[in-house]
Assembly symmetry: C2
Homo-oligomer: 483 residues x 2
Amino acid sequence: MVQLDGVARRIIAAIKEQIHSGAYRPGDRLPSTRVFAAEWGASRTTVTAAYGQLIAEGYLIVRPGARAIVAPGLEAASVEMSAPSDLPRNLSAFARRLLALPAPLEPQPARIADFRYGELAGSDFPVLAWRRASNKAILQRSVRLRYGDPQGASHLRGALQGYLWRARGISCAPDQIVIVNGSQQGLDLCARLLLDPGDRFVIENPGYPMARHAFVAAGGVALPLAVDSDGLRTDLLQPARMAYVTPSHQFPLGGVLSASRRRSLLAWAAGTGAYIVEDDYDGEYRHDIAPIPPLQVLGPDSVIYVGTLSKTLSPTLRLGYLVVPVGLRQVFSEAKRLTDRHAPMLEQEALADLLSSGAYERHVRTIRRKNAERREILLQALTDHFGPKVTVVGADTGLHVVAWMDGIDAEHELAIIGAARAAGVGLYPVSPLYDPTEPRPETAGFIIGYAGLDAEALRRGATVLAAVLAEHQFGSAQVHGDR
Amino acid sequence: MVQLDGVARRIIAAIKEQIHSGAYRPGDRLPSTRVFAAEWGASRTTVTAAYGQLIAEGYLIVRPGARAIVAPGLEAASVEMSAPSDLPRNLSAFARRLLALPAPLEPQPARIADFRYGELAGSDFPVLAWRRASNKAILQRSVRLRYGDPQGASHLRGALQGYLWRARGISCAPDQIVIVNGSQQGLDLCARLLLDPGDRFVIENPGYPMARHAFVAAGGVALPLAVDSDGLRTDLLQPARMAYVTPSHQFPLGGVLSASRRRSLLAWAAGTGAYIVEDDYDGEYRHDIAPIPPLQVLGPDSVIYVGTLSKTLSPTLRLGYLVVPVGLRQVFSEAKRLTDRHAPMLEQEALADLLSSGAYERHVRTIRRKNAERREILLQALTDHFGPKVTVVGADTGLHVVAWMDGIDAEHELAIIGAARAAGVGLYPVSPLYDPTEPRPETAGFIIGYAGLDAEALRRGATVLAAVLAEHQFGSAQVHGDR
């Protein structure tokens, strides 16, 4: 396993400082990992992990067969970036924690296929239904335009209550539902209401970085726990204030939390007084397996259920919802009011219309079928081109798979990404989803989203990827020999 | 002046406890202020102030000529309300501060006229233009549905840059603009990024409660400063991390911050390193006076400018924007991303369309004229019915006025409101806008919003109000004699 240890973190800090100070300038080539490792007296694995982190944070870029270079555009950014002496005056501790988080990867244009996860095809959006519902909402505006209920329009919450019961077996009162601007706002509200600086939170490793970031920015201290094919390793649980889990489809590896682990997790919550944040981010997409009821159903007093419309309608709408324990209703409602009053009303009205007319459920059936087809095509293409050289996990549900490149060392992840990008394919590594303080996997792995691509792009993307790998002959032999 | 002092706060806590414990039940009548004052050995003024606060928080209601009663519906709410022993387990300090804030007044239906401030007439919404722009945005969706820029769509920020220059004389780069879900989110972001628990912030007294709440919930300690007809009394400034001001139209009293005070405030910020949050909540509405350039123009490195579409389009859209100093751009952008990724894209697209086509500015001209007419009608009706018995302030700009009922003691505010409500008129007191730790005004005063009402409602509302006052003969004589 590649460990992002203390040495790696010091290397990262040193390189950032060189970039901020102007010692390294955009376009400059860095020493090879071999040379750098010798200079620092560190293992080459450590240096590779440090470079990998800097690439993930956008400081460095790699091209196939060449050394890493300092990313362009850092001149302008460096004034504002994270060297402590450059911080603007008088920022809060929250702001300082926020600026210390790794910068997100920006999407890169990809000619042939972009496998970026979390995006949908524009052609899947129910344009006619949304336009009709939206126009109706605009015309039906009330005599007075006034602030709405911070928890959301009551008829939307009523319609969602019915949907959640039918689709996910959740039995809740509309009063327990809080409409939020996408699940990210739900996670941020949980962070603000349930964590004080220094409080520990349990998070899956690997896991969803934007959840981790929300909790860390609130001052929480991550307690990353390993996952396996049954989801979170609940045998590793320790006392904490909160646990963030994706029990229906562990993000990104796809395990489904087993029944016994569900009981363990709920017992842990009951015993410690912790809350469980259940992110059911793609619960609508089940391919080969039977529906799994959410944790919320088993522990409605301990679980905050997070739902989203980003995977069925569009991530650009910014619509999501929470189902909160009865005892937390008031504080979530007041927090939503203070944060931004309430979600935009026209979108709430349009969604309520789609839910109550049945149009939403029809749409979900359609898009579920389309994505099942995309998944089949992708899995077939991966089998055709890679056969046993790739292990695909997490394909039972959701809109992405993780592909492990057996026999290829994780060290090559970034070179493969660079080569794929040069060939017109957007590819994204699994390794940045691992907790920065924990070991990373040995094998190169990629998170492959397919919901945004059509059949041809999926097939051509897999073909190009196979050609890239064949051409460059990334392997583990020379690396192992090198260690 | 009526002081909400330590005694008043103990009275408030005691009554809440009685209500939560069930000792007082909904519909129960409270002792008269005279009796209660005798029981507690407190002045009747103190008891009246405590009752007033409880009415403002929704614990008590009053009807004309009758004693205060416990509000209905408190049985169900009491389980969740603010008695500390009833708090849910494991809440953060932020959550506990949030629950300690006074609950907002819920709007009450009013048969004849609701003078509630902050609402617009549904008939003023540019339905056709918004529908056209919105449909265009739905059709123009891109090939991939993906998360957008956390600061907002670049063409919206480009269009806003032009608008801000033309309408408000602000010269900024699109990169300094952050699209937020209404100004409340802008205030909350300022609170999170600029205040740590225990930090002091300057706020106008009286002032905007939702701003105060955002800063107090973040752990800020209010430094309320008096205002006069020239706005904030900058001679009273003390060191703080932040100042929140409404320089173009002091909320609620309407003073315009004078040129010399603007200079003082900016010098204070430069000297102490504090940031100034400038809330230009109704800068589009100038009636009798020339445009006043925002503070931001004079101090772009110290001022965070907060703008909103809630007063020109609709408060239900939840669209606002910040103009931040260049040095704060990155941290605001990252905070917005962490908070909820970005504002909903369709609404951003629709607004960008309205701004770049000129439709928005045409709409602003129309609604400005309509509101100027409403204002004329209201001012005339107040003059006709009350003559010199009412002093109206803050009428030069904006969508509300404050009416001081000369010769009527503030003690009668709540009885007047109750009598007005019984007669079909929604009326809202100024006193809750004063800092709870500071003296309150002696004279009864009301904040009268007119943007949601038509000519007939405005005239009939004023007529009914005059009749209510005449019938009940609220005065100051008996009160003064009583003290």
